[in-house]
C-alpha cells in the first residue's frame, strides 16, 4: 500500500514535468516575486538600520527563504478536492481501497517536491546572484529547516483539505477558498513578517496555525529564532499538525453521510 502512495507522489511529479511551459514560467515567476518584495522592502527601510527587529539584510534573506518554503508547501488541494466533490468524481475515488485524503496529500507532496527542486532551486541560484542574500552555512540548520518546511507542507495541506471538504457542506466554496488563500499568505508571514504586526495582532496570531507555515521556519532559518527556541518552534508546528487531524477526520465522516453525488 505504501508503494501505491509513493507512486502517487511520483506520478504527480511526472505530470507536472509534462507541462514544460509551466515549468519555465514558474522559475521566472518565483524570481520576480522575490525581486518585487526585495525592492519593496528596500524602499520601506530607506536609511533605517532595523525595522521590527529585522535588519535590511535579514529581511532580504527572510523574503527569499519564505518564498522558498512557499514553493514547497503551496498546493491547490483545496481546489482539487472541491472540484472532485462538485463534479462527482469523488465517487470513483471512494470505490478504491485507499484513503482519499491520503492520496490527495501525496499528490500535494509530489507537487511540492517538484516546485522545490525545479522552480525554487534554480530560482534561488538566480536570486542569490542578483540580491544580497546570506544563507546560513550550518548544515544542522539546513536539516532543521527541511523538517520545518515539511511541517509547513503538512499544516498548509491540512488547511487546504478542510477548505476543499467544505464543498460537501455548501453549494459553492469558491469564496471560502479565496479567503483562505489571502489569509494564509497574509497571516503566515509571506507578505509581512509577523513581527511587523501590531502587538495585539501578533499575540492573536501566535494562537493560530498560520504562523507555523512560513513565519516559524523563516525565522529559524534566518537566525532570528535560535537556541532552545528552535525546538519550541518545531514543537508548535508538530502540535498544530496533530491538532488539525481531528477536525479533518470529523469533516470526512460527516461528509460521507451527507454525500450527494452531483450529476446523478
Amino acid at each position: 500500500m505504501i508503494s501505491a502512495y509513493v507512486d502517487f507522489i511520483r506520478i504527480r511529479f511526472l505530470t507536472m514535468l509534462a507541462y514544460r511551459v509551466n515549468y519555465y514560467s514558474g522559475i521566472v515567476i518565483y524570481a520576480i516575486n522575490i525581486g518585487a518584495y526585495y525592492f519593496m522592502w528596500k524602499a520601506i527601510y530607506g536609511d533605517a538600520e532595523q525595522l521590527g527587529g529585522f535588519t535590511a539584510g535579514q529581511m532580504t534573506t527572510y523574503v527569499a527563504v519564505s518564498w522558498m518554503a512557499r514553493a514547497f508547501y503551496f498546493n491547490n488541494l483545496d481546489r482539487e478536492i472541491s472540484n472532485d466533490i462538485r463534479d462527482g468524481s469523488v465517487a470513483v475515488q471512494m470505490t478504491r481501497p485507499y484513503s482519499y485524503i491520503m492520496v490527495k496529500m501525496m499528490q500535494g507532496f509530489g507537487e511540492g517536491l517538484f516546485r522545490l527542486l525545479l522552480f525554487m532551486a534554480p530560482g534561488m541560484v538566480v536570486v542569490t546572484l542578483i540580491f544580497p542574500i546570506e544563507l546560513p552555512t550550518d548544515p544542522v540548520l539546513w536539516m532543521i529547516f527541511l523538517v520545518m518546511i515539511w511541517f509547513s507542507f503538512l499544516i498548509n495541506s491540512q488547511i487546504n483539505v478542510m477548505t476543499g471538504l467544505f464543498a460537501f457542506f455548501v453549494e459553492n466554496n469558491e469564496g471560502l477558498m479565496r479567503m483562505k488563500r489571502v489569509t494564509v499568505d497574509l497571516l503566515s508571514g509571506v507578505v509581512v513578517p509577523i513581527a511587523f504586526f501590531p502587538g495585539w495582532a501578533s499575540e492573536v496570531l501566535k494562537w493560530l496555525p498560520f504562523q507555523a507555515i512560513t513565519y516559524l521556519p523563516g525565522s529559524v532559518f534566518t537566525g532570528r529564532i535560535a537556541g532552545s527556541a528552535v525546538w519550541e518552534a518545531l514543537l508548535v508546528q508538530a502540535a498544530w499538525f496533530v491538532a488539525l487531524i481531528a477536525p479533518i477526520a470529523l469533516m470526512w465522516r460527516a461528509a460521507r453521510k451527507r454525500l450527494f453525488v452531483q450529476g446523478g
Binding site: A4, M94, R96, P97, L259
Partner: protein, 354 residues
C-alpha cells in the same frame, strides 16, 4: 451463496430549496429550507453469485443511487445491505478490494498519464501480485484488443477505447462482483457488441457476478438472465427477461406480402372467429395482429391455404416497447388493467424476428 443482499433499503436526500426573488435569496442566506427527496424507497432484492442482472429504470428512478449504496459510496438512510458478505459503507477499504466498478460517464483512469501507468498504479493500489497482474493484463488486453493503446495518455483515447480501458482497470484485481453504471452509453454499435461479448465471457469463465444499469435494452437482451425494474424509487418488476416479455407483450404481428391485390374483408373472412385484427399497408401487403395466447400457426395455416403469398414477416413486441409501455403506465397493476380492453399501442418500428 448470495452476492448481493438488500433489504428494505432506503435513501433520502435533503435538497436545498431556493426561494424566489431578492427577498427569498436574502432569507436563504440566513435560514435554508430543505426538501426531503426519497430516491430509493425500501427496496429488497437478492442476487446470487454468477448472475448477470440488469437494473433498469427511467432517469431519476434511483438506479445510480442504489449502485452507489451497493459500492459503498453512499451511506443508506435505512435498511440492510450485504455485498460479498460486507456492509459496503462500513468496511469500505476492505470491501472494495472484492468489487469492480465502471461508471460510463466518469473516468477512473488518470487523465494525464499513459494507460499502462494507470494500470500499474492500480496494481499497487489493489496490492495485486506482479505475476497475477501480468497474466491478468495480458488476458484482458488480448480479449479487448488494447495492445497499441497502452502507451497513450487517457485524454487521447476515443470514448470506445477509453471504455475498454475502464473495464480492464475495474477487473485487474479480479473482483467477484462487477458493477457497471451505463457502460455502453455513447458507444457505437461495434464497440457495444464487443463489450457485451466480453462481459458474457467474463461471466462464463470467471463466474463474475455482474450488475448493470443501462438505458439500452439491447444490453439487457444480450446479457441479462434477470431484470430488476425501478420506477420512482420502487421495484416494479423483478424476474427473468422472458417472463417480462411474456407478461407484458401484447401479442405479435404478422406481415404478409401477397402476390395479388387483396381486400380487408376477404382477409377478415378467412380468420373469422379467431379474434385477430387486420390492417392494410398497401395494395399487396397486410398485417394481422395475433393475441399472445394464440398460436401464430393457426392463423398462418388459414391464410396460406387460401392466398398466394410471396413473403411473411413476424414481429414480436420488442423489449423497448414493453418497457416504454410499463414506464408510461407506471407499474404492473395499471398495466394489467390496460391489457383488458384498451387498444393496442402502435407497433411501428418493431424489430423483425423469425
Amino acid at each position: 451463496m448470495l452476492a448481493i443482499e438488500v433489504e428494505r433499503l432506503r435513501k433520502q436526500f435533503k435538497v436545498q430549496k431556493n426561494r424566489e426573488g431578492l427577498k427569498g435569496a436574502l432569507l436563504d442566506l440566513f435560514k435554508r429550507e430543505y426538501t426531503e427527496v426519497t430516491a430509493v424507497k425500501d427496496i429488497s432484492f437478492r442476487i446470487p453469485q454468477g448472475e448477470i442482472c440488469g437494473y433498469i429504470g427511467e432517469n431519476g428512478a434511483g438506479k445510480s443511487t442504489t449502485i452507489k449504496m451497493l459500492t459503498g459510496i453512499l451511506v443508506p438512510t435505512s435498511g440492510k445491505i450485504l455485498v460479498n458478505g460486507y456492509v459496503p459503507y462500513k468496511d469500505r477499504e476492505t470491501f472494495v478490494q472484492g468489487i469492480g466498478v465502471v461508471f460510463g460517464q466518469r473516468s477512473q483512469l488518470w487523465w494525464d498519464i499513459g494507460v499502462i501507468e494507470s494500470f500499474r498504479l492500480l496494481r499497487k493500489v489493489y496490492r495485486v501480485d506482479e505475476r497475477d497482474f501480468k497474466r491478468r493484463l495480458d488476458e484482458l488486453v488480448e480479449t479487448l484488443q488494447l495492445g497499441d493503446l497502452l502507451n497513450r495518455p487517457v485524454r487521447k483515447l476515443s470514448l470506445g477505447q477509453r471504455m475498454r480501458c475502464e473495464l480492464v482497470a475495474a477487473l485487474l484485481h479480479n473482483p467477484s462482483i462487477l458493477f457497471l453504471d451505463e457502460p455502453t452509453i455513447g458507444l457505437d454499435i461495434v464497440v457495444k457488441t464487443e463489450i457485451r461479448e466480453f462481459l458474457k465471457r467474463l461471466n462464463r469463465e470467471h463466474g463474475t457476478t455482474i450488475l448493470l444499469t443501462t438505458h439500452d435494452l439491447q444490453d439487457i437482451e444480450a446479457l441479462c438472465s434477470r431484470v430488476i425494474m425501478l420506477d420512482d424509487g420502487n421495484i416494479i418488476y423483478d424476474g427473468s427477461l422472458e417472463e417480462l416479455k411474456s407478461r407484458w407483450s401484447k401479442g405479435r404481428e404478422v406481415q404478409f406480402q401477397f402476390s395479388d391485390p387483396v381486400s380487408l374483408q376477404a382477409l377478415s373472412a378467412l380468420t373469422a372467429g379467431q379474434g385477430v385484427r387486420w390492417t392494410k399497408e398497401n395494395e399487396m401487403t397486410a398485417k394481422v395482429w395475433i393475441p399472445r395466447e394464440m398460436n401464430v400457426s393457426d392463423v398462418l395455416s388459414r391464410v396460406v391455404g387460401a392466398m398466394e403469398i410471396s413473403d411473411i414477416k413476424i414481429f414480436e413486441t420488442n423489449t423497448d416497447e414493453i418497457v416504454r409501455e410499463i414506464y408510461r403506465t407506471g407499474g404492473s397493476e395499471k398495466t394489467a388493467e390496460a391489457e383488458n380492453g384498451e387498444a393496442l399501442p402502435a407497433m411501428a418500428g418493431a424489430d423483425s424476428r423469425d
